[in-house]
Symmetry: C2
Amino acid sequence: MLMKDGWFFEDDMPFATAIKTKGSLYSKKSKYQNIEILDTVTMGNLMLLDGKTMVSEKDEFYYHESIVHPAVSIHPRPKKIMVIGGGDGGTVREVLKYKSVEDIELVEIDEEVINVSKKYFPEIACELNNPKLKIKLNDAIEYMKNAQEKSYDVILCDSTDPEGFAAGLISKDFYKNASKALKENGIYICQSGSLLIQENEFKMSLENIRTAFKYVDAIVSMIPIYPGCMWSFLIASNKPLDKKIKNIPSGKTKYWNEEIHEKLFAKPEWIKEKYFSLQAVK
Amino acid sequence: MLMKDGWFFEDDMPFATAIKTKGSLYSKKSKYQNIEILDTVTMGNLMLLDGKTMVSEKDEFYYHESIVHPAVSIHPRPKKIMVIGGGDGGTVREVLKYKSVEDIELVEIDEEVINVSKKYFPEIACELNNPKLKIKLNDAIEYMKNAQEKSYDVILCDSTDPEGFAAGLISKDFYKNASKALKENGIYICQSGSLLIQENEFKMSLENIRTAFKYVDAIVSMIPIYPGCMWSFLIASNKPLDKKIKNIPSGKTKYWNEEIHEKLFAKPEWIKEKYFSLQAVK
């Protein structure tokens, strides 16, 4: 992370998003990571975990709507949900727009992320006290190993990059455990990195998830503050993924709508050829 | 433009793309603007005009395929084409993938951009000597004023930001002249800026183009090196825009395909509501 003349950008990659800041609002090491909140000129408050861009007030809806609606809207009747990571509460907020949802478990390892989000991102964290939500302060890898079989309708992995304590979240074992924890028609979705600068991470995640689920597809969305912006999500199930919308979120959305829904599943030609052609899937 | 510790980014906006560079390959003031070519770590050669990011070798296809294929593929029989700006040759290269195209005029004010592109971007400039191409070293605003009426099938405005000598390219008069120069079922397309940080430019361009054409729509694409990445294009005609693909480009594409084609016309909910709802169009 580089902070120079008021500009922040992640300088450990050769391509980054530079954001002009007005200063730091919070900076503290939790048990697991450095948490920093920057006050930016145009993106509102910005959260960094170990120097990595996580979420900004202004563009958070692109990310949260991209991870939630493609998966939850196509499930016939989503009732029981698990969210991994996502301590800022944005994913939970979007999931709760579905009336059928009765029960959400938020498996966040770091309580400080939750506390800081409530203070600095009130519009994102607005549902973190919802009675349908159970917060589990656990390591998701252990939690998934012990999860009850065939009990979740949708599992959403809204994690940091798969490094350090989060590295196991794209392993074959983790995906296998997630596959077991889902009901027969359950759906798994996870963020899988930048297709511009983290293609190796996407590739590894895709190879591993294919060993655990019968049907795997990718979503390509736009997250303006993430480097290269072209962001991928993997979506998987053991039943064919019928992409028709079956549930409409009751609250307003800012990015997602029916047209965007279908388009999220469209892939740039080079991605389609390299990873989703008949040869690539073999 | 800021160049520090090998990083380049446009620091005149509070949000930018930071690109790690290895050095400068060319830097010279032409009659119209500063032209600079940087050698970057992951994006290949990068062209800046007056310090603004124009094109990089690695991601140029997102831009060029986004401006060309949505417009040219839906025209019933594109034969005569005008390209404004686009001296790097990328737009011309994509247009020439349509077998029916007989005649392209490239109206580029700055010959130096063409010369530099041939040297530093050979894969982008590869068709700049094609016999179907006529290069017109003219100011596009004057050129359009004097263009023969009802003579072009598609006009593509691949210009820099509408500032300085390019400011007139989003004026009502310019759009009116373009509308006149097109055949009855002709199609106009232009880049219209970042929806994240240049919304005012998009708004003004949209308001003006609506005074000159009966049917106007927007395309939202991803251009990884452009700030905020979420890039807009306006597409307009005096006949209803039938978005069905009627011509398939004969050469290979890396981004565009039939699914992406439809995706490009889908708009984030906030854009749809604000600019393309019934109220917004009134």
